[in-house]
Amino acid sequence: MSAALRFEQARAHPDEEPLHLEVEAGAFAVMIRPRSPAAGALRMATGQLRPAAGRVEVLGIEPARLRGRALSRFRHRLGVGFSPDGLVSNQTLRLNLLVPLLFAGTGHREARLATDQMLDACGLGQWATARPSGVPAEVRQCAAVARALVRRPELLLLHDPFAALDAETIQRLVDQCRRSAGTVLIATHREEPVLLGAADRVDFGSVTTTVAGESNGTGTN
């Protein structure tokens, strides 16, 4: 199976420990790292940060080489959630999920249906018309994960997505991630038991790691 994500001695900043990690298509991987390097790794994968050293390859593409529309089209294949969540404060939770679908070219009716389905699947149906400032922290975190999943991405990248959530909610979201995304990489600085139990492999950063997973047939090539 080919690698969905590959970091080859990649560093977001010169003074960071190099990251060497390969995640095969269909895997559910967890990467335990300090906060800043974890965020930097995900930004290199989305093309928002050029590697200071090494190489990053995502879905067979080096994001650092992309520009303009090619970069946008590449990002439409990803689902991304950072910490803090970055939900747009003057939009409802429903609109926060709708916008990435519309900008990826999904028709309004289809996008609205997909949005409502994902909100319900993540337990957010009752909060659809609320704004991020008017909901509890745990609802915001669920909404950020839902927004990353709504396009059923080939690759899901999440940074510390479950900090404010209880074990039951984390399990529900982890199951949703497995159903909705092709390959998953969750970067976190906390060793969350539910998350570690669900992962195919966990990388603690001290050794070269290859993570192989079973294909779940969703969003993979």
């Binding site: 928002q48 990002r75 959630g81 950072f82 404060s89």
Partner: protein, 263 residues
């Protein structure tokens, strides 16, 4: 001493050139984003645009009408005294149109919008940037120029145009009514003066100038808002920069239009 001054001048010039070049680049990115706007997201653009027009134009309307009423009274009283002294009463309509419709109306309306909406745009965009909202959407392939800047620039152009029309009509009406109340002239005769004095080209110039003002204010405040530097302390600074840049732009454009019409 002279050498130090020369160095300072050179340094300031270089900074200004860099600043203007960056704004031109930002304009280029905006135009490129507008041309590449995804058709599926056009309903979203329309919705955001309507919200912008509601906030910028509709909510500002009462204040604009109050200011226009006061301006109409002041300008007409001042003008009436002078034209009557020199026997140029039949020029009143033309003078009023030149002063109010061409100059004061668009300029004062732009300044009101700058104070109300320009500051809000700069602060809102700076806050969105600081909170990581733009980064988060960008990571999902959503262009920040398309989502945040384009609706505000279009909304600004439309809103200032609408408000300027209201301002000019309110000024003319208030001037006519007060002139009648003060016994200087008949309302009907004055309104006929103004009707004759306003040509299609006058309306066209007003609309064009207003649209430029509105687009320029929103553009410059968006530019400064997105250059807040990602920290909360940068927010008030970018608001100030946006206001100053927009004010300079409005005065410059107004001057250029006046000179072009005169020449």
């Amino acid at each position: 001493m002279a050498a130090d001054t020369l160095v300072q001048v050179g340094r300031s010039t270089r900074v200004q050139i860099a600043r203007q070049t960056a704004r031109i680049e930002f304009l280029g990115r905006l135009v490129r984003s507008a041309l590449a706007y995804p058709p599926a997201a056009l309903p979203l653009l329309a919705r955001t645009l309507m919200n912008q027009i509601r906030f910028t134009a509709l909510h500002a309307l009462p204040f604009v009408v109050v200011v226009a009423t006061v301006v109409g009274l002041v300008v007409l009283v001042e003008t009436m005294g002078q034209v009557a002294r020199f026997g140029l009463t039949d020029m009143l309509g033309r003078i009023f149109v030149t002063v109010v419709v061409h100059e004061i109306g668009p300029l004062l309306t732009a300044i009101i919008v700058l104070g109300r909406s320009g500051t809000a745009i700069a602060a809102e965009l700076a806050t969105s940037d600081v909170l990581g909202e733009m980064d988060a959407m960008e990571s999902l392939g959503v262009d920040r120029m398309q989502l945040w800047v384009l609706p505000r620039v279009l909304g600004g152009a439309i809103s200032v145009t609408i408000l300027t029309v209201y301002f000019n009509v309110a000024t003319v009406l208030s001037g006519a009514v007060f002139a009648d109340l003060l016994g200087h002239a008949d309302v009907g005769a004055l309104l006929e003066f103004f009707r004759v004095g306003v040509s299609v080209s006058d309306v066209g110039i007003t609309v064009l100038k207003s649209a430029l003002f509105g687009a320029g204010i929103a553009f410059l405040c968006s530019y400064e808002g997105m250059g807040a530097g990602g920290t909360p302390t940068g927010i008030p600074q970018c608001v100030t920069r946006g206001v100053v840049a927009s004010l300079a732009f409005v005065i410059l454009v107004s001057t250029v239009f006046s000179l072009a019409l005169f020449l």
